[in-house]
Subunit: 245 residues, 2 copies
DNA sequence: CAGTGGTCTAGACCACACT
DNA sequence: GTGTGGTCTAGACCACTGC
């Protein structure tokens, strides 16, 4: 029996290829956050497949929160500028219930060279230029969060303290509006730590208070890491809420 | 214009009703964790709908991790006894990477009356009988976790220290095998706290070390809470890992 | 009203597992 | 080979939105 050509590339269903093409359009900013994408019928024609196949592709992208379906209106590119999405990645909740409302105060914004750890997380080379931001977030009563944020400078050109202070809403809305960068998902590593001098003064807590340390890496389309964030939370009157499914 | 009869009951698609019926079969233990459920064709006949409708119902239940599809074999009821599921709700990971392996030591198992907070979380009345368990979990080097667990006694009749110690694997496998109780999802509230006398001795840490406090409520089918768990983690060499989507 | 996504069906064929 | 889930199609009809 003669050798048969191997199925090297394992079987890839049509709808996966459609997903990839839709993703490419998102990644290339052909369709911007908040806008409608073409109807299922149009996409079916464009890709020369049936509506059902487009449907399955969109279903999965919607399940990953990349697209949002709205019956009667169309399918939209997900955006952090919507009301429901303002707090999509904020897991802090008051112990007493309800939603937390925080006011930002930016303390610093400087251009520095990436150290080894930040470079690794952002998939840059050590020494590549990054922007480092410092801020606190406060309730009506006291500061609750102290954060350091690192961004690759090549993607966030011209970002300054004053541009940050001029922006009213959450940072992920700012990234979207100003730098066409939409955050898709994030990974967090959480530890308990003791407040040091710097943290205790920023958060108005005694030295050696217990704090929650949250190291986040956030990704855009195509699993590209574009933000590193190291937050410390005062969890004495609020907590980090997580749902396990 | 005369009043029109209101659409009180909002439209409910067929596949939602099928989902509900499948859920009922899971809840009533007609199909047990780990076993196959009838094929899509059989279910389609049983519920008198098309295969595609059954398919959509199963798809959604599989997305919620209640069912597991295996091509060529059938659709199975999800179980914590599978290898991949042993650690489904354990988010602790070593800072150095890899999987953590923990050995349990049960310290206590007593029948008590529910206090207000546990009763609320388990949707019982204050004073109802609950089982309270205490344990530590250790790596090869040192204890990492101290946990208190509360279970409604009516569902976990005859649970004793020795039955716990006789079980080799994770507790959710034990609940399944012994009490036909499968955990579907959980909610956790996380805080940073300081070690007190008791915690510092159990975890072999100095007094006032920082610890992660994790309060979990776990639910079976039908959103029924059946376990409350208050864990404290030593996060000096491991962290709580979370993915935000 | 037309256009969008949402549901449901029926049928053909493919990929995988077991025997 | 037989039976399972997985993919793809085509067409009908429903529900919601906005003109």
């Amino acid at each position: 029996m003669p050798l048969i050509s191997e199925p090297i590339a394992t079987f890839s269903p049509l709808y996966e290829q459609i997903k990839a093409m839709i993703l490419a359009s998102l990644q290339s900013s052909e369709w911007l956050p908040g806008s409608v994408i073409p109807s299922e019928m149009e996409l079916a024609a464009r890709y020369a497949v049936s509506q059902g196949t487009v449907r399955k592709a969109i279903d999965e992208l919607a399940a990953q929160n990349l697209l949002v379906r709205r019956q009667g209106k169309g399918t939209f590119v997900a955006t952090h500028q919507e009301d429901d999405w303002q707090y999509r990645f904020l897991r802090l909740e008051p112990d007493s219930g309800g939603r937390i409302h925080l006011k930002s105060q930016f303390l610093a914004c400087e251009s520095i060279k990436a150290d080894l750890s930040v470079a690794k997380l952002l998939k840059l080379k050590m020494g590549d230029p990054v922007i480092r931001i410092e801020r606190t977030q406060s309730t009506a009563r006291k500061p609750i969060v102290f954060e350091e944020i690192w961004l690759p400078e090549t993607r966030f050109i011209g970002l300054t303290l004053s541009s940050l202070n001029a922006w009213p809403g959450p940072m992920y809305g700012f990234y979207e509006a100003t730098y066409a960068t939409h955050m898709v998902r994030a990974e967090e590593k959480i530890k308990a730590i003791l407040a040091d001098q710097v943290l205790s003064s920023h958060l108005q807590l005694p030295l050696s208070a217990a704090l929650l340390s949250v190291e986040r890496v956030a990704f855009t389309y195509g699993n590209k890491p574009v933000e590193v964030r190291h937050a410390r939370y005062d969890t004495s009157e609020q907590h980090y809420e997580n749902k396990l499914n």
